[in-house]
């Protein structure tokens, strides 16, 4: 396990709830859950086998100090950000944000599951978008399709060709973007400075060293 993970584990010895409250985005809301279960029932990933722990179970596990089970779980990575849970929560707990907060924290301390597809998508998207300040959809799609090898990528591309053609016809996809870096925003340096500042502020707020 990573150093960061061991550090955190030592710092919050036997108090995983406090660890989540201080380290994960919106983690301070976890204790507000009253275990009604409306979030889990409202989740569109309903009956999906990957969703091993529904949100309110995850919250209860945090309170019960089940650190390893929570951090190694695939569950928070399965959130599709539909916000149904957040809208219906009788306590207005920002469940969607907490799911991403826990996932991000698990990643930050090196506990994210290996080959997690959501993690791969997030990283790819982030790198793609922050490089030039614009999302290059052709290259983003390519890197996602071909992540499991060339043959698999071609298969996926063939299956999706009708959608792609439709997008091209509607002027929503420019194939020329595949060549070179694609279109950029005017002030890339400015974007990078802004992102760096945002990270600094977030670290400050959570009381972390940059």
């Amino acid at each position: 396990m990573s150093d960061m993970n061991q550090q955190m584990s030592a710092k919050y010895k036997n108090n995983f709830l406090k660890e989540i409250e201080e380290q994960a985005e919106m983690g301070e809301w976890v204790k507000m859950c009253m275990q009604c279960g409306v979030c889990s029932g409202s989740c569109p990933t309903n009956f999906h086998p990957g969703w091993e722990h529904p949100p309110q179970e995850l919250f209860m596990m945090i309170r019960a100090g089940k650190r390893d089970e929570v951090l190694d779980s695939q569950s928070m990575w399965m959130c599709v950000s539909c916000y149904n849970c957040y809208v219906r929560c009788p306590r207005k707990v920002p469940i969607t944000h907490i799911m991403h907060g826990i996932a991000e924290y698990a990643y930050r301390i090196g506990r994210a599951p290996k080959n997690q597809p959501t993690l791969h998508l997030s990283q790819t998207f982030w790198n793609n978008a922050t490089k030039t300040g614009r999302v290059n959809e052709v290259q983003l799609t390519q890197s996602l399709y071909f992540k499991d090898g060339i043959m698999d990528g071609i298969k996926k591309a063939m299956a999706m060709q009708d959608v792609a053609l439709g997008l091209v016809k509607a002027g929503r996809l420019n194939v020329m973007e595949a060549i070179g870096g694609g279109h950029k925003c005017k002030d890339i340096k400015g974007i990078h400075a802004m992102l760096a500042k945002a990270k600094e502020l977030e670290n400050q707020r959570k009381g972390r060293a940059a």
């Binding site: 279960g37 029932g41 409202s42 009956f47 009788p90």
Partner: protein
């Protein structure tokens, strides 16, 4: 013109439900003059719309009869029905109150013989039965209505039907020329007992109330179970009249929810537990109830009632706030969610779904035509700045009948102290 005898030693009670009636009676029985104002054409409020009370499962008509007898025996109470308070000026010990009286189109000569009802042909919504049925335009609003007088709906005034209704009355009790009146009266203290209304279930959109006919509210279920109700006491579902033998109760429908009512409405757990008994009594072992709950709050001394229901093999409990309701092709409402005991997903069809909707104040404190302190839900709070206005019953909090009566007695005592000060009987 309606004449009201009132002075600054009079206690005005606003609302003639169980709390208002109690406050009026308690005050009058100590010798005070009381004016009781009620919006409906009859007294008794939401209490008389119940089939039975918990925990003793007795009928509200019993308690109401006792109170009505006390009322009839007491010359110090003047009752104004179909009346609403529209303005309050002045201060503790000397209020001036304007009251708007809607026309009943029937005067004191009415003997409740029912001939006007036979003469009426058009129908209007049956408010007493939560609009589950219709009544004729000349109707007795409730079986035990006090005053025991018919009401004629304004829609027939000036029509041939109205004239026929008038002609049918042998006692000259029908007066279609009645107009809305506004009277001003004096009062030393005011007891505000405007009660509650069920939370509008249509606002809880995932439950599709109003869209799915077999999703009803707990107050409607009371009317279904009542032999005097629209189905003659048969628990059948509204869509097709099929016997509802598999009934789901959804607790906290609107209550304890930041998106709806912030407070716990307190009575709904007990109401649903009570209603499982209606199902059991109607269908015996075939009558199955399922209660979906966050946690059961059988407040106060009612834990044994809960344990009794829990021991019944025909009643099951699922710890879950239902996420949504869909409808099967045969009209069965289907409940979706996760049972948090074991985190098991379910998708269960039922014959009928009863939403245990919560209480909200029927007149929020900000809607009262005087400065009255209220909490975040609009319930009247006890506060010295309210001066001579005292909340009672469900206007002050979500209460069951028993607690509403206690609250009303307390409010009556405070009002009595104010008028005693006016009369210099108390320091």
């Amino acid at each position: 013109m309606t004449s009201v005898v009132a002075t600054n030693q009079t206690i005005l009670v606003v609302g003639g439900g169980i709390a208002g009636m109690t406050a009026a009676l308690e005050a009058a029985e100590t010798g005070k003059q009381v004016v009781l104002v009620e919006k409906n054409p009859y007294l008794g409020g939401r209490t008389v719309q119940l089939y039975r009370y918990f925990p003793k499962m007795c009928h509200p008509s019993c308690g109401l009869e006792i109170n009505l007898r006390r009322l009839k025996a007491n010359p110090r109470i003047q009752v104004l029905t179909m009346a609403e308070v529209t303005g309050i000026t002045g201060d503790k010990g000397n209020y001036s109150v304007t009251v708007k009286l809607a026309p009943r189109y029937v005067n004191e000569s009415c003997t409740a013989c029912g001939e006007c009802n036979k003469a009426a042909t058009s129908e209007v919504a049956d408010a007493f039965n939560y609009n589950l049925g219709k009544v004729k335009a000349a109707y007795l609003p409730a079986n035990m209505a006090y005053p025991q007088r018919y009401v004629i709906d304004g829609s027939v005034v000036g029509t041939a039907e109205g004239e026929a209704i008038k002609a049918a009355c042998k006692y000259g009790a029908v007066d279609l020329d009645m107009k809305e009146e506004v009277v001003t009266l004096n009062a030393g203290a005011i007891v505000w007992a405007t009660g509650w209304q069920p939370y509008d279930a249509a606002k809880i959109t995932p439950y599709r109330y109003g869209e799915f006919k077999n999703v009803i509210t707990n107050v409607e279920f009371e009317r279904l179970a009542d032999p005097h109700g629209p189905t003659g006491g048969k628990i059948v579902r509204p869509s097709d009249g099929k016997e509802a033998k598999n009934v789901a109760f959804i607790q906290c429908a609107g209550s304890r929810d930041e998106n709806h009512l912030r407070h716990c409405s307190r009575f709904c757990c007990m109401a649903s537990l009570k209603q499982t008994r209606y199902v059991q009594e109607a269908y015996g072992d075939e009558g199955k109830s399922t209660v979906y709950y966050i946690d059961i709050r059988a407040i106060d001394r009612f834990e044994d009632f809960y344990q009794e229901v829990k021991a019944n093999p025909n009643v099951s409990f699922v710890k879950s706030k239902v996420a949504r309701i869909s409808e099967d092709t045969n009209g069965d409402p289907r409940l979706w969610g996760v049972n948090t005991e074991g985190y098991v997903r379910y998708s269960e069809p039922h014959d009928l779904v009863v939403l245990a909707v919560g209480m909200e104040p029927s007149v929020k404190n900000v809607a009262i035509p005087a400065e009255v302190m209220g909490d975040s839900s609009g319930f009247v709070m006890a506060d010295p700045s309210n001066a001579g206005i005292f909340g009672a019953g469900c206007a002050t909090n979500a209460l069951d009948v028993n607690r509403a009566v206690q609250s009303a007695t307390a409010a009556a005592l405070r009002a009595i102290q104010v008028v005693n000060q006016v009369a210099r009987a108390e320091a």
